[in-house]
Symmetry: D2
């Protein structure tokens, strides 16, 4: 690649722009993973991530991508032939279903239009109808990275409870954790799946399972073979700060720093910042006369916005123009949305001016690619950010 | 300082945003400055910087700030009591004059309005009147960092020649080198003064003197004491890649990388990029209904734009609001312009979206600070960048 | 931890001392793993690692520790109830056996004394006796990290061939790859398991499966469920430089640099260097009057040396003293060797003076910990290194 | 340069091995040197360095090499024609004399044998004889980097006082500060000159003047022209954390970290560590049957040891062999000692095993280069370090 002046705008919905503090924290010699210095680190990160998940319980850290944590959630809790309830909220829900099927899980996969989240009433209805409790788990993607739709996990929880059903609740927070309000304990989630490369602002390479006592109990009796992903193998050495096999030490250095950054900013502020940037982005989208994919305002995502292309225009052609001319990466439409939407990531280490730089890139790209649109998207976003900011200042 | 999410926008006219490639190049152990590995490095940087200055002659590299290179230019060429011709183009011309006076130089300092560059006809006139050639040097700040005005050095050269005057031509390119077209040899400059922290994209800590044979000859007979800045002491070990005292090795690592980046992009493209960003910025300024300080279009600066505040509004209050709310640093008005202008740096490692992020910060800041202005600046900049980009694409 | 002056000596047998070049290569922003810049990187690393494995075939790269690559080798080739032949060469052979058993593999685990490698004649005998070819794989740990014994894979291959047995050959090279001569294709290995944090000089977090056509064929019909580790899912996107899920991008940056370093030095030189350092270490051990654990000179390890403690002396007490007084980490005795041996890692990014610094730390540590020994170990190592060096110089 | 495995041993007496903590601290974007974040940094470093100098007064920080700080000490305190008293303790004393002469200072330069420090009685005698107080300053190199001899500054102070002479005391601590006990205030030093690249563990590029009230008073009336080095220009903005011209911001990041490291270790421990390593080195030298250049035990240097070559053997040939074979840089003999001594730096970020690695390199190098010597140097050093360590442990 020829040299390009300036910093690339990485506005896919993850991996996100890794902040210098995290990169520098990782840029240190690896240490003995069985020595006392590591032990201190191990304890710090194992304890430190808990509030990010909203849990007082255990969080397992894998040297793996998020897909590995998906697999871990399944192989530790389910058995071949088990039924699970899932909803087709988008590409990643579909992929998780596919993964589960590989392990012999029978998936009740309720079709969806990829513009809505998990419908709580459908959860309740399916579970009520499952009188024999053959459904062992409800598996929900909290924030569908392919669509920018955030399912309302508390309502899913309430639906399960209303149905009086004992199913486990497994939730994928890969693109929500550290960006969108999430509470493992309070919402009664049994396994929370997460990854390092989104709201946690790390490079990819770590993934997580936060686990409830109920999930842990399930892992004692379920019948899927496992070793790398085995919770019990992990929990034992974790108790003293160690890991059963070589951990990804340098990513743990980064994790410690990333958690510190989230705590310094304050999780509530982190979530509010993401919400504000998401709303500014949606106003820009409407300013351009385009449509946000997410059809339900209560399910708008704080971490990304998927934008629908006008008929007859290819999102990938637009993305290519924007990458070439403005050195910005946007997310592609995935699966059945290929070519039909592009996705703007506004999560992780981000601020107002970077968001607006992003939106100017989209606005100019729409012109450059000959996509019909109105001007004024950036202006609408600025107007919102100014006002929101003014309101916040007044409240201080 | 509390943690702020996202990357700071450092849009002062230098130090500029140091690119990761340069930071990473510097992030290496220091080596023996008398050993063979250093020798290779020394030769590479001493040779490598020459095209950036547009010279085939010697470039001296000091472990020092630009102010040191100002001093070096003087103590190597002039003697106490010498007269020099200078023009009050702004704050830095004034500071350089002050520095020269400290060394007993008598400065003919032609007053100016801080909105224009060096007037070539005045150069010619002053030199013609100096029949006894008591003026030993004409000292010009190529790009006045305090005003965003770029003096036309080729016209100054022509004026000196037209007057048939033997004065040396000393030029400060601290905020132009690597950003604005500059040619030490072709323009007949005798000493070019430069620093590392602007167009060269390095942290501060290196500065430069590119020197002509005529300047070198002057250094053999002038009468100012010197040691650290002495050219002759430098040139001898430089011939084999070494330095007379410990050089700033890690900054030299960065210099090698920065020169490589400039060459990869191509100096002509670098200058064109700066011009394009400067024009976009001026269009934004006019879109806001504000005035660019530089009064002469032929002297617009490619590296920064100074913007005049409406009467009764304080530029520093505006800058404070922008720093607090939008995490962006802008340049203050200096000297007699304090509070009356703010300066937008658009030099160094930069691109369209970062420029537009910068301009959105100014536009929102004007609102937030209650500075009367029109909306539409950012839009005007986008329109220009799109069009300019389209033109460039057409030309490809 | 209180500040300690100077650089820690990380002389465990991995993770190894990550060189600055690799750390700096990783210290860069993560890029879009679906974009063209990543594609170039993906192709480079997928192609670049092949010569390190001595293969022209495919190498799978996992975002995982070596344990994951162990699991991958099994779940892609074997089925529940399959029999495999393994040898108790040490702790890691035992752990791999345990892992296989978790997946329902029946392990013929031939007992060993932890001082020898895999006996080729026993391989042949077991396979000859297996007339029905119920044994599906021979699983060998090339270099036993727990003992410093290197099994002779070419002899194992010859034994399998001599028995005319169709078993797959799976080899763990976690602590040999990039340190000890290894040839996946030439030696007819079917699956080579490797990790990033030893001879490859990277932090932990990547692991590898190099696979033969025969192994790939086995993966088409075997019956272990898998998703994260699935070769076929990997190979398809790998063909164009991509990965089926988010790869550990920053570790791939490091991998590219590490492979470049190995190639610059030359693999033959890399192996010779490790052999030379291993021999120097053994001479030191004998100089101290202590015994090397490895009982067979033809099986001495190039990457680490396990040293037996005199009876009645605790290796962990010695290691603690050395860590506290001399800031050096040594490897512990593992499993049945706990407390009885300590292990000196001399692999990865290493040189003569660092090795000797290491050996001085052991020699002084023996004194400090009151372990009976003779002086003269370091001197013997120096004598060998000087002479070996002289020989090499003469040969140049 | 071809790739060499392992870390280079940089054992010249500065620049020293820059620790990762310092490199990483510097590896951050440059900030606005006129903004509030810089102000905090400026205050921290200006205050933080004071205890390292042993002063409660002002320390000036220059973006320059140590040579610049030499010049600064002179141009701020002396006037052309002033007489100063200096002693020929080695190469750097000679260079400082030369520099002073450039500025018209008349140097009484008492000859020396380059094996002793400044003789306090000679100081007293010269000053007593200077009844008219024509000598304006006594200029002393605390630790002669060219010889490894440390002059006893407290005795020099006492000599000046005994003579009742008002001369200023200027001391160069370039290779002692942060390594050898030094107390600006307590010893009544007027200007302390220092640099960043030795005991301060930074890359080169910063230098220092710690100044007494008496020195400051002298600067108000002395008659050497100056601007870059002017104390008064510095002190004014320093009072609020700023600098009169662009400071070397990234080196200041490093300075903050380096000072933190010195404080964490404790200055007394830092000095004791250097002394201990110096004694171990001298024992090694004697073990080899070679001679330490420093002839006076009370003047042994804690930061480096200069070793005399046997007659007829060239130190530079030895150094070349050691660099080529063992990848270690040692210091050359300078000036009249060229080829006759080599210098071992044992200062800065260093520890026992790195020192012993260094000494093994020298011992093997002596063999490789055919320099007559005895074995046993390394062994003697080990014996000392063990014992010293045991003593320290006993004391704990």
């Amino acid at each position: 690649m020829a040299h390009r002046s300036g910093r690339h705008f990485l506005q896919i919905p993850g991996p996100t722009n890794v902040p210098d503090r995290v990169l520098r924290a990782m840029d240190r010699p690896t240490i003995d993973h069985r020595g006392p210095e590591f032990q201190t680190l191990g304890r710090e990160v194992l304890e430190g991530v808990k509030p990010v998940f909203g849990t007082a319980g255990s969080v397992i850290i894998y040297p793996a991508s998020g897909t590995g944590a998906w697999e871990a959630a399944i192989v530790n809790t389910l058995s071949p032939g088990d039924r699970v309830l899932m909803f087709e909220t988008g590409h990643f829900a579909t992929l998780w279903r596919n993964l589960a099927q590989r392990f012999g899980i029978e998936c009740v996969f309720v079709p969806g239009d990829w513009r809505h989240g998990v419908p709580p009433d459908a959860v309740e209805q399916h579970l009520r109808e499952d009188r024999d409790h053959t459904i062992k788990a409800v598996m929900v993607v909290h924030n569908e990275t392919s669509t920018g739709v955030t399912s309302r996990v508390p309502l899913v929880r309430r639906a399960i409870d209303a149905a009086g059903h004992p199913a486990l609740l497994l939730v994928d927070t890969i693109s929500s954790l550290g960006s969108i309000d999430y509470r493992h304990d309070e919402w009664g989630v049994d396994v929370t799946v997460a990854g390092s490369q989104k709201g946690l602002m790390l490079p990819p390479g770590l993934s997580f399972n936060a686990i409830s006592d109920k999930a842990l109990a399930a892992s004692k009796t379920n019948r899927l073979p496992r070793s790398y992903w085995d919770w019990e193998d992990m929990l034992k050495p974790n108790a003293t700060g160690f890991f059963p096999y070589t951990p990804a030490t340098n990513l743990l250095y980064g994790l410690k720093e990333a958690v510190a950054m989230l705590m310094e900013e304050g999780l509530e502020n982190v979530f509010a910042r993401h919400d504000r940037h998401a709303e500014a982005t949606r106003r820009a989208v409407r300013g351009w006369g385009l449509e946000v994919l997410c059809a339900e305002p209560a399910e708008y995502s704080g971490s990304l916005t998927a934008v629908m292309m006008p008929d007859g225009h290819d999102a990938d052609a637009l993305r290519r123009v924007i990458l070439e001319r403005f050195d910005m990466s946007l997310g592609a439409g995935l699966g059945r949305l290929a070519g039909k939407v592009f996705r703007i990531g506004h999560l992780g280490d981000f601020n107002d001016l970077a968001l607006l730089g992003t939106l100017t890139g989209v606005e100019m790209g729409l012109s450059a690619a000959g996509v019909p649109h109105r001007k004024g998207g950036v202006e609408a976003a600025m107007a919102y950010l100014e006002a929101g900011d003014a309101k916040q200042m007044a409240a201080d």
